[in-house]
């Protein structure tokens, strides 16, 4: 049995929890190379996601991610809004009506998400953005899926790679987003969006591995 709407809901609920818990950390990361709002943005955005899930429980994983996309685009307020919004929207499209998501479909959805961020933000690996977490993550997920691993393991590989990718932004000079205003002075700081990406993918892995969380899980 692959992943379903319960997983998607758990993922989003664990994401909201992670954003709330790491709110201050993400704000502090955004301070030296941004405008000190990434934690606030993500927390607000995922609170809106929770509200949407409660208001109208989705029938499929795709529907859950689409609802999340709309909430993030409307409520985040910063660059992360259209970026994550587009990512979740493309992932939702990739998943379609699927109710039993196998590892290949999962990896394809993650690739679609990453491609959406690239389409929206035009960043490449090395530009010191969330793409530096997403691209190694989707590569790791694809490899794990191709190697025949379970969905939970695929997501764990993605989360591990995203964490490493986030760390890899430390020495980089930003070429996209607000941090690019700082030029060389952006080096020596970790990109906040890459860190939030790692947190979100870790939440996805936890949702696939662990027991149910939160309230409205498993409507499908």
């Amino acid at each position: 049995m692959g992943l379903d709407v319960k997983w998607a809901q758990d993922w989003l609920r664990l994401s909201a929890k992670a954003m709330a818990e790491h709110r201050v950390e993400l704000i502090e990361l955004d301070r030296p190379i941004g405008d000190s709002d990434h934690g606030e943005n993500m927390d607000r955005g995922f609170q809106a996601v929770l509200q949407k899930l409660d208001e109208s429980p989705p029938e499929t994983a795709g529907a859950a991610l689409k609802a999340a996309a709309m909430a993030l685009m409307s409520k985040v307020g910063g660059a992360a809004g259209p970026l994550y919004g587009t990512a979740y929207l493309r992932a939702a499209t990739s998943l379609g009506e699927a109710t039993d998501i196998d590892p290949e479909a999962l990896a394809a959805a993650l690739i679609a998400a990453r491609d959406g961020i690239v389409a929206r933000g035009k960043a490449e690996v090395g530009d010191k953005t969330m793409i530096d977490a997403w691209t190694p993550a989707v590569d790791a997920a694809s490899n794990a899926a191709a190697a025949g691993q379970e969905a939970a393991a695929v997501l764990e590989a993605a989360a591990d790679a995203a964490e490493a990718g986030a760390k890899s932004t430390d020495p980089l000079v930003a070429r996209k987003g607000r941090a690019s205003y700082l030029g060389d002075r952006s080096a020596g700081h970790r990109d906040p969006g890459a860190v939030s990406t790692a947190l979100l993918l870790r939440a996805a892995a936890e949702a696939a591995a662990g027991p149910a969380v939160g309230t409205g899980a498993g409507a499908g």
């Binding site: 943005n41 409307s74 307020g77 809004g81 259209p82 996209k176």
Partner: protein
């Protein structure tokens, strides 16, 4: 009818002030401000931008809409809004400085320019007249 113009800024004050400034030289042009987050913090809101674009599509009665933006994330929000808009092909995003480009675009629209020319007017803004 003239081309409509939407002003997407991280600040509702900037968007409103820019509209007031440009309106002086373009009283017949529909200028719509979409600044700030939905709770008026500094940032952008897809909902605000989408509502502004849809209003502008109606106001401009088929003549098209040009969107001006300030920083990069406003560009991304505007591009997202265009994907959800009812008539994406009638909307052009200008790569121009917000305030200076808006005045140039508004004057072009007031003079009856088409949507492509309005965008070009914004993008052609160079040193200050």
């Amino acid at each position: 009818m003239t081309v409509g113009i939407v002003v997407v800024s991280h600040s509702s004050k900037i968007a409103e002030g820019a509209v007031e400034l440009a309106a002086q030289m373009a009283p017949d042009v529909d200028l719509v401000a979409a600044g700030g987050t939905d709770d008026d913090r500094i940032g952008t809101s897809l909902e605000k931008v989408l509502a502004a674009v849809e209003q502008s599509l109606v106001d401009s009665g088929g003549d098209g809409v040009v969107v001006l933006t300030d920083l990069g994330s406003a560009v991304m929000t505007a591009e997202s809004a265009m994907e959800f808009a009812s008539e994406p092909d009638a909307i052009l995003l200008a790569d121009a400085p917000l305030v200076e480009g808006l005045v140039a675009a508004a004057v072009a629209a007031q003079g009856g320019a088409g949507v492509e020319d309005v965008r070009s007017a914004a993008e052609a803004v160079g040193s200050k007249a």
